[in-house]
Symmetry: C2
C-alpha cells in the first residue's frame, strides 16, 4: 500500500521555522554555558540531547540540554554547579527533581530542561541514570538515516494516537528512544508494525544472552549498555495495544491512527446492575510518576479486601488529579451468604495453623483440599462494601504517600449519569 | 516418637494362614500353567507379580499371575494363548480388558488375575505396558528388606486412610509400587512422611536428566525404565493430601491415620444461598477408569458454559454409579445484568475477528484491552441455568462415551436435606 505519510502527519511535524528556532535557542544556550564553564574553570561541557538533537522531534517539542561534568566532580558539587549554571541560562527557571535536581524554564516560549550529568563512554558504568542520555543521542544520530528520522516521527504519531507514547508511569508506553531503536532495527514504520502484528508472547530484541537477563514483557537491549532493558517501562497493556493497533492498521490502513486530536468516546451510562464505588484520598505533594503507582496500589489493596469479603470486584480504574481517586466495580453490594475462603497451599508451613483455626468450627464446609490448596466455606458476614473497607483499611498498605490518609478515605456511590472524569473514563473504555 | 506400629495396623495385615493360603494357590497355579506350556510347546512361563509376590500385601489382597511369552510371538497369538491358559486355570474365569484381554476369577475365594505379557529385560523396550510388571516385582524383591516390607504396609495403610492409595482414575493416588519405591529410597514410613511434610512445589525423585523429561506434579523415575514416570497417575490433589496428612501426623501422631473403616463425615445442610444442580446421563458400559475421566470432562464442559453464561460456577463433583452424575454449584440462578466476555489475547490471530464482531454493536462497553487480552462487556441474557445448558449442550464435548446422551441430559435441583450420595459427598467434603 502506498500512502503519502508525509501528508498524513504533516500537521504534527515541526515547520522549518520551528526547527530553525529550536536550533538557534539550543546553540546560543550551549555557547553561553560552555563559555561560562571555560571562564570559571569548570571541567564540563554542554550538549543538546533528546529528540531535537536527533531531529526526530514532533511539533512543539522541548529542548533538553545536558551539562556533562568530568567524573572527578563529587555528586553534590556537580549538582550544585548544575543548578547554578541552569539558573544562569534560564532567567526564570525553576528547580525540579528527577534522578537529581535540574532547572527547567522557557526561552522564547520554548521549554528547556538543563540537566547535569557525568561524562561517560559507551559500555562505561554510569554514575547516575541520566549519564547514558548523551550516548543515546550519539548512537541514534550515527545510526538513523534521514528517511529513518521520518519513519520515527511516523511511529511516534501512531503510538501517541493509541495512547502508548511515552515512558511516564501513567502511560507506561514506548519512549522516543524506543521508537528510534525500533526503526533502526526494522527499517520502516510499516516493518515495525508488521513485527508487532505478528509477534507472540513477550517482545524481545537483542542478543539472547543479554535478553535472558530480563523478565519484562518487553525487552529491548540498550545498544549503549547491554545490561539495560531500554523498554522496561512498557506495560503489557501497552504492548497489547501496540499489537492490536498494528493488526488493525495493516488490515484497514485507517487514517485515524494518525490523529492526535482528543477524541471523545461515548460512555454507555446504562445501569450495569453492579456496585460501583469511588474511593478517594487527598493527593500528596509528589509528581504523577510517584503518586500514580500508589493509586494503583490502593486500587489493588482495596480490591483484595472486597474480594475476600465476597463482593467480587470485577474491574477498576485510578485517577490522580487534585485527589487520588480509585473506582472499583463489584458484582454485588452485599456479600453472598457464603464465601469460599482460600487457605494456604498444601506445601506451605501455614497448613497446620489454617486447619487448627477452622476445623470443628461453625463453618459451612471444610477445611478441605482442592488441587494445590486448602479452603474453607464460611458463612458470609453480610456487611456492606463501606463497612468492610473501613474495617480493614488501617491494616492495608495503600502506598507510602497515601497511608497517612487511610482514616479519612471517602467512599462514594457515583451516579453514572454525572459527568465525572473517572466514571467517564471507566465507562467509555475502548481499545485505545 | 516410638509407636508400636505393628500393633497399630495389625488388623490390616494378612495372617500367616492367609499368607500360606495365597502362597499355596499361587504355586499350584504357576505349576499348572508351566506344565501346560511345556506339554503344549508354548514358549512361556508363569510368574507371580504384584504385592503378594513382594510380600507387601495387606489383608485381603488379590493374586496377580503373569504369563510371560517369548517376544517371537505375535501380539494376537500371545493374547489368544493367554486367554486360553487363563480359562484353563480359572474354571469360572471372566475376560476383562486393560492394555489387552486377561482372565479374572476366584480360587478358594481369592481373586486371581491371569495376565499375558512379553518377556523383556531391564532397560529393554516394552511391547505392551504390562511387560514391565515382572521387572518391578524383581526390583522390589531385590531392594526391599524385611523391615522395609512392613514399612511399605504401614505407608499403604496411611495412604489408604486418607484416600490416596491406588492409581485408578477415581483415586489418582499412590500405587503399591510407588509406596515400595518411596520406602526403598527413604528407608522408613516416618522418613517418607518427613519428605512429604517438608516438600515444596513438584515432588521429584530420580536423576535430574531423567526427571527433566516429565512435567507432571509428581515424578518418580521408574528404576527399571528411566523413560517412565512411575508416578504419572498421581494427581496434584493426592500430592496435596499426602503433604497435609504428613504434616498433621508428624505433629499429633494421631492414630486415626491408620483407620480404614469408612468414616461418616457430617454434611452441613444449611442453605448455601447458591444454585446447585445435578446433571445426569446414563452410564455407558465401560469400566470406571474409562467413564470417570469422561464424567470430569462433562463437569468441566458444563462448568465452562455456566461460566460464560455468568452463573459463576464455584465448585463441583462427579459420581459414576448406575448413572453418570455431575453436581455443579453456581453463585446464582439467573445470570447478572452484564457479563464480561473474554476475547482473545492481543497476540492472537483472532483479534480482528473479535473486534469486528463487537465494535459498534449494542454492547455495554468495549471491546477493550486489559493486560494481555481483549474483552467486551455484554448485557446478560437473563436465561436460566437449564436454558443455557440445554441450548449449548449439543456443541459441547462431554466425553466420547457420553456425547450420545447429550440430548437426554437430566437437570435436577437437589434438596440438600435429601440423602443423595453425591450431595452428601459434596457437602461433607473434608481434608481426606
Amino acid at each position: 500500500m502506498t500512502i503519502n505519510y508525509r501528508e498524513t502527519i504533516a500537521r504534527y511535524l515541526p515547520s522549518s521555522a520551528e526547527q530553525a528556532k529550536l536550533r538557534g535557542i539550543s546553540e546560543r544556550s550551549i555557547q553561553s554555558i560552555n563559555s561560562f564553564c571555560n571562564s570559571s574553570g569548570i571541567n564540563a561541557d554542554s550538549i543538546l540531547v533528546g529528540s531535537v538533537a536527533k531531529g526526530t522531534n514532533l511539533a512543539g517539542a522541548d529542548i533538553d540540554l545536558f551539562i556533562r561534568f568530568d567524573q572527578n566532580y563529587g555528586r553534590k558539587e556537580m549538582e550544585s554547579l548544575g543548578l547554578e549554571i541552569g539558573h544562569k541560562t534560564l532567567a526564570n527557571g525553576k528547580e525540579k527533581y528527577a534522578e537529581h535536581p535540574y532547572v527547567t524554564g522557557f526561552i522564547d516560549d520554548v521549554k528547556i530542561d538543563i540537566v547535569p550529568c557525568f561524562r561517560i563512554g559507551v559500555g562505561q558504568k554510569k554514575i547516575s541514570s541520566v549519564d547514558r542520555t548523551p550516548l543515546h543521542t550519539e548512537f541514534v544520530r550515527k545510526n538513523l538515516t534521514k528517511e529513518g528520522i521520518f519513519q520515527v516521527q511516523l511511529l511516534k504519531v501512531f503510538a501517541k494516537s493509541i495512547g502508548v507514547y511515552g515512558s511516564e508511569v501513567t502511560i507506561s508506553g514506548f519512549s522516543g528512544y524506543i521508537c528510534e531503536l525500533l526503526i533502526i532495527r526494522y527499517g520502516t514504520f510499516e516493518d515495525v508494525l508488521k513485527i508487532f502484528s505478528q509477534g507472540r508472547g513477550r517482545f524481545l530484541l537483542g542478543e539472547p544472552e543479554d535478553v535472558g537477563k530480563f523478565k519484562d514483557h518487553v525487552v529491548i537491549i540498550d545498544p549503549v549498555d547491554r545490561d539495560r532493558n531500554a523498554a522496561a517501562a512498557i506495560s503489557v497493556e501497552s504492548l497489547s495495544k501496540m499489537r492490536v493497533a498494528s493488526k488493525l492498521y495493516l488490515k484497514d490502513w485507517d487514517n485515524s491512527f494518525f490523529s492526535l486530536e482528543p477524541q471523545k468516546r461515548k460512555a454507555n451510562r446504562t445501569d450495569r446492575g453492579t456496585a460501583i464505588r469511588i474511593f478517594s484520598v487527598p493527593r500528596p505533594d509528589y509528581t504523577d510518576d510517584v503518586v500514580f503507582p500508589q493509586a494503583l496500589k490502593m486500587l489493588n489493596a482495596i480490591s483484595s479486601v472486597l474480594e475476600q469479603g465476597g463482593f467480587e470486584p470485577l474491574d477498576g480504574d485510578a485517577e490522580v488529579k487534585d485527589k487520588v481517586r480509585v473506582l472499583i466495580e463489584c458484582r454485588r453490594d452485599t456479600p453472598p451468604e457464603f464465601i469460599t475462603h482460600q487457605g494456604p497451599p498444601a506445601d506451605s508451613d501455614n497448613v497446620i495453623d489454617f486447619i487448627n483455626r477452622w476445623r470443628g468450627k461453625d463453618v459451612l464446609r471444610g477445611p478441605y483440599i482442592r488441587g494445590e490448596r486448602l479452603y474453607v466455606d464460611l458463612k458470609g458476614t453480610r456487611k456492606s462494601i463501606e463497612e468492610s473497607v473501613r474495617e480493614n483499611i488501617m491494616s492495608l498498605n495503600i502506598g507510602k504517600g497515601l497511608n497517612r490518609y487511610r482514616e479519612e478515605i471517602e467512599i462514594n456511590r457515583p451516579d453514572l449519569k454525572d459527568h465525572d472524569t473517572l466514571v467517564e473514563k471507566f465507562l467509555s473504555r475502548g481499545l485505545f
